[in-house]
Subunit: 410 residues, 2 copies
Amino acid sequence: MTIVTRTGGGMRDTLIECVRLAHEGPPVDLLIQGGRIGQIQPAGVIDAGGAVREDGAGALALPGMVDAHCHVDKTLWNRSWVPHSAGPVLEDRIANGERGRAELGLPSRDGVHALLGQMAATGTTLARTHTDVDPEIGLRGLELVASVAEELADMIDVEQVAFPQGGLLTRPGTAELLESALQQGLVGCLGGIDPAALERDSVRHLDLIFGLAETYGAKLDIHLHERGTLGAHTMELIIERVLRHGLEGRVAISHGVAIVEVDGAQSERILQGFAEARISLLTATVYNTPVLPVAEMRGRGVNIGAGNDGVRDLWGPYGNGDMLDRTFHLAYRNGFRTDEQIAAAFDVAVSGGAIALGREPARIEPGAPADLFLIDAASIGEAVASRPPRRLVLKRGKVVARLGNPVHAR
Amino acid sequence: MTIVTRTGGGMRDTLIECVRLAHEGPPVDLLIQGGRIGQIQPAGVIDAGGAVREDGAGALALPGMVDAHCHVDKTLWNRSWVPHSAGPVLEDRIANGERGRAELGLPSRDGVHALLGQMAATGTTLARTHTDVDPEIGLRGLELVASVAEELADMIDVEQVAFPQGGLLTRPGTAELLESALQQGLVGCLGGIDPAALERDSVRHLDLIFGLAETYGAKLDIHLHERGTLGAHTMELIIERVLRHGLEGRVAISHGVAIVEVDGAQSERILQGFAEARISLLTATVYNTPVLPVAEMRGRGVNIGAGNDGVRDLWGPYGNGDMLDRTFHLAYRNGFRTDEQIAAAFDVAVSGGAIALGREPARIEPGAPADLFLIDAASIGEAVASRPPRRLVLKRGKVVARLGNPVHAR
C-alpha cells in the first residue's frame, strides 16, 4: 500500500480507479496531483486518502489529442442547419465565406465557445486554429477567439494562427495586419496560403512571411492546396527558406497533398528536406483528397499531425470536431487494419500534433501533465473503429467532460 | 378534418404526428394502415380515432434504406474486440477468414441476429447479404442466415446471395453447392468473384454462373475487385453475357472500381453497356478504394446502390451497419456539399439499392409500404452530415427501433 499525501496548490488530488493503458492490460489506478499524473499503480494499491475518486470502470485511458489544424472562427456548429451554398472551387469558397460571415455574424462568440467545448468533450486537449485576418475583419476574429479561449483555458489549450485566408499579396493591408497581430502578441504563429496558385508570386509571399517570422520569432503554418509539381515546387521553396532563416522545427505545411502526387525521386528529395528542416505536415484527410502515407512518411523521419479543418461551416457541411473521427479517416484511408497500424494513426493525433506545435506530447506516465481521456474500448483499434462518447476527459488534471458533454467550470 | 376508420388485418393503425418530409417543409401527420402509408396530411388534420400515436416531434421522415451489399455471416459485431490479423492482400484475407471462422465459430447465430438488429435500428429495411458457400462450410451459412432472417422478418427484409468467396473453379465442389442452394430454393441470387484475378479463367467462371442463373431464373451479383483494364475487360464480358442470356435488370456488379480507372472511351462504352443491360453497380466506398462518381454515372442512366460490405469482421475492424454512415462516405468522397448533392447520395442508398435488388424503392407517399425512419435533422444533408440515432424506424408499419435500439417483437 502506497500512502499519499496531498500536494500542489488549491486543487484536490484525483484518483482515477480501474483503467487500462493497453489492450488486455491489467487494471491500474492513476493518481492525479497538482495537474499531473503522480502515480500509476495496479488497481487498489494507492491509498489516496481524501482524493476525489473517479470510477474508470475498466475503460481505456488515452493521452489527450491535438487538433493541429482547425478554423473555429468559421464554425456554424451550434446553429440550425445552413445548407451549403458555395461554388465548386477554392476561390468560390473564399468569396462565399466572406459574404456569408457578414450575413451570419461570424465569427460568433457562441459558435467558437460551443465548438471548443465539443473538441474538449471529445478528448482534444490542445488545438491550433487558423483565424481569418483581412482588411475587412481586421484583428477582430483573433481578439474574439483569444477571448473565448481565455474563458475556456482550463478545458483546452488553444494556439491561434493569424491566417490570410483571402490572400496576402492580393489583399493590400493584410500584411500590416499580420505584423500588428505579432507586435501586439495576439499570436505567435503566422499563416500563409497557396503562394503560387492563389497569390501568384510564391517567392514574394514566402519571403514576406518568413521575414516576419524571423523578425518576431514566430512560427509558420502554411496552407498548401497546390497540387502535383506546382505544390512540390512550393514545398522546395519552403524547405530552402526554413534552412536559410534557421526556422527548423518551427514551420508546418497544412494539407500538402502534392507530396503524394509527384514522382519518386522528387518526393524522396522533399521528404528528406522535411526531415532535415523539421517541417511538419498537417493533414485533415477530408473529402477525397489524397491521403498522406503515414507509415512511409514517419518511417523517413517526417512528422505528421492531424486536424479537423473546417467543422460545419460555409466551406462545407461536415465535421464534428472529434479528433478520434479524424484519426479514423486517416487510418481508414491509409488502409490500416491492425491495432498496431491504427495506434500509429492515433499517435499522429497525439504526438504528431504536439511536435508540430512545439509542445511536449501528452503521455500517460508519472510526471506528465494529466491531459487524457477515458473511453470504453478494448484497444486504440477499437477506440478508433467505434468512437463511442468519451467517458471522462481531463485537462491538467481537471475533469472537463463526462460522457461526451463538456463540464464547464462554475 | 378527415375521419378515418380502421382498415387491414389484426394490426392497429398508427398515426405518426408532426414530422417533416423536407427541409423547411410544414409539419405533417402520417397515418399508417395495414402496413402502408394511408394518408399524409398537414399536422392535426387526420382524426385517427383509436390509432396508436407516435410523436414525431418535428423530425424528418425518410424512406427506409437498402444495404445492397453486406456479409452478415462474417460479422464479429456483438463480440469483444478481435484485433485484425490478416495479411495485406485479398488472398490473405480469404485464407484468414476461413481459418478464423472455425476458431471463432462463425457464422454465429447471435452475431447475425445482432447485426441485422443494428441494421434495422439504423433505418435499413432491406438488405442483400453475401453468404459464403464452399466445400468446408457447405450450405450451413445460408441455412443459418435464412433462419435468423426468418426470425427477424418483421424488422428487415433479407435477400441472400450464395457466394463462392474462396473461388468457384479453384474450389472443386463449390459449383455443385451453389446449384444445390438454387434447387432447394435457399437463394434466388448467385454470387461470383474476380473471374480473372482470383479464378484464372474469366470466361469459364462467368459462363458457369450465367448458365446457372438462366437455368434457375436466378439473379447474379458478382464481386469484382479487379482493377484497371483487367476489371474493365471483365465488365465487358459480363455485359455481353447479360445481353446474350436476356438477364437485363437482374445482374449487379459489386465494387467494380475499374470503371473509374480506364480511359474515357472505354469507360464510356462500358457505362453505355451497363445502362443497356441494366447492370447495377453496388459500392461500399471502403478504405481508400476509388469512389464511384455518383452524379456522372446516374446521369448516364447507370443505377448505383450502396452497402456496408463487411462490418467488424476478419476482413477488417471497421463498420457499424449504418447505411447513413455508408451514405456519408459516398457523399463525402464524391465531394458532395450541397443538400441536393447529398440527397442524390442518399437516394443511392434508397432507390439505387432497391432497383438493384429488383424491388420497389421505398417512398413516403400514400399507398407505399411504411418502410421509413425518423431522424432529428433539418434536411437529408444534415442527416448525412450528423447521423444522429434514428428516433423511430418502421418496417411495414411496425415500429422496429426507437432511439437507435431495436425493438424486438414479443
